[in-house]
């Protein structure tokens, strides 16, 4: 079982190769808020979001609209791949602090 795992992961390596050419945007979480709260990304394009959690406490980046969820520990960052998405507005939020951590992805 222990040997299976790296083998299984390695099987997916070729698929990750694309990640270098993907447009990247950064979102910061500070005081349980996103900065920026609105982010514009191009339509029909794969985009890499780097979410930096500058709070000491973890946050869960989540969106029902573009179907992603990921826990980001305090003082760390996580990579989230989004898209290709059709034009429109897609909400995202921080599940641990939903009252303040709210944002919108504007896809044009």
């Amino acid at each position: 079982m222990k040997r299976l795992l790296p083998l299984a992961l390695a099987a997916f390596l070729p698929a990750v190769a694309f990640a270098d050419d993907v447009p990247t945007h950064t979102l910061t979480i500070k005081e349980h808020r996103f900065t920026p709260e609105t982010l514009e990304i191009p339509a029909d394009t794969k985009v890499k979001l780097i979410v930096k959690n500058e709070d000491a406490t973890p946050e869960e980046f989540e969106s029902h609209d573009f179907n992603r969820e990921k826990i980001i520990k305090g003082n760390s960052q996580a990579t989230i791949l989004v898209g290709p998405l059709k034009p429109g507005t897609y909400k995202f939020f921080g599940e641990f602090n939903p009252k303040t951590a709210q944002g919108v992805l504007t896809v044009k």
Partner: protein
């Protein structure tokens, strides 16, 4: 208190549904409890390890290591369940007969208990790691006392456990004759659901395209956040907004298992032991 209740309820419910199906499928096997506990213990240990290495895993594979890791665990579980279902068909008649025979019990060793324990362990691993990560999140962001948070957590786990127990008894109320095929079907659908979930993670990791997304939106009919929605999510892989790729994996897994079952011949029932 509410957030810890919700988190534990959600994760334990997923786990409870899987356990219920597995326990119902192995009912009548003496000693199976020990195997299931081994699986649970393995899962709990594994989830503690995963939580400890969460950063390393997450940063791996250009930041989407977590997604690949979850997908890999799910796919191994899919393989194990598929194998178990096929195994059960080929030995089915023999076992069903034994279960029905008064006073005779299948010994757990006659079933693929190692595979079953592994399925339990893998599922617990996934759910357990999520619980640890969520709980550390709640414990650090909350203003409440630890006692309140723990109370909520225990309450959530207990509520989910109660639902799992109800499901179990509901399942075994079906006549024993049908129990075998019902639980086999539930295992198959569990398998397909996990496969679709794995596809979801691979999509999030950028390894697979979504195809059409969403294929449909049944959020208005049954929310994934509702209790029934969660139960159906674990049992059948119900998703409000599945992507085309997830549907492909679901149906593909179903097709593969059904054809494997089709080509599996049942061993003849064991001749009754000479008196």
């Amino acid at each position: 208190m509410l957030s810890s209740f919700i988190v534990l309820f959600r994760e334990v419910l997923e786990m409870a549904v899987i356990l219920t199906i597995i326990l119902a499928a192995t009912r009548g096997a003496r000693g199976r409890g020990r195997w299931v506990w081994i699986g649970i213990a393995g899962g709990v240990l594994g989830s503690a390890v995963v939580a400890a290495f969460a950063d390393t895993i997450s940063d791996a594979m250009e930041g989407v290591g977590q997604e690949y890791f979850n997908a890999a665990i799910l796919l191994v579980a899919v393989g194990m369940i598929g194998w178990t279902v096929v195994w059960m068909k080929s030995h089915g008649r023999h076992i069903a007969q034994k279960i029905r025979r008064v006073g005779e019990q299948v010994v757990a060793g006659e079933l693929p208990m190692a595979a079953i324990a592994t399925i339990v362990a893998l599922s617990m691993w996934r759910e357990g790691a999520e619980v640890v990560l969520f709980m550390t999140g709640i414990l650090s962001t909350s203003n409440e006392s630890i006692a309140a948070i723990i109370t909520g957590a225990v309450g959530g786990a207990a509520a989910a456990g109660a639902i799992g127990t109800l499901l179990y008894f509901g399942l075994i109320k079906l006549s024993t004759k049908y129990l075998f095929s019902v639980t086999s079907w539930l295992l198959v659908l569990l398998c397909c659901g996990m496969s679709a979930q794995a596809a979801g993670y691979l999509i999030a990791a950028g390894a697979l395209p979504e195809l059409i997304s969403p294929l449909w939106d049944t959020g208005w009919l049954l929310s994934e956040q509702s209790v029934m929605g969660k139960i159906l999510h674990s049992m059948l892989g119900y998703t409000e907004r599945p992507s085309g790729m997830q549907a492909v994996w679901y149906l593909g897994t179903l097709a593969i298992i059904l054809s494997l079952l089709n080509f599996t011949r049942q061993r003849p029932a064991a001749t009754p032991a000479a008196a």
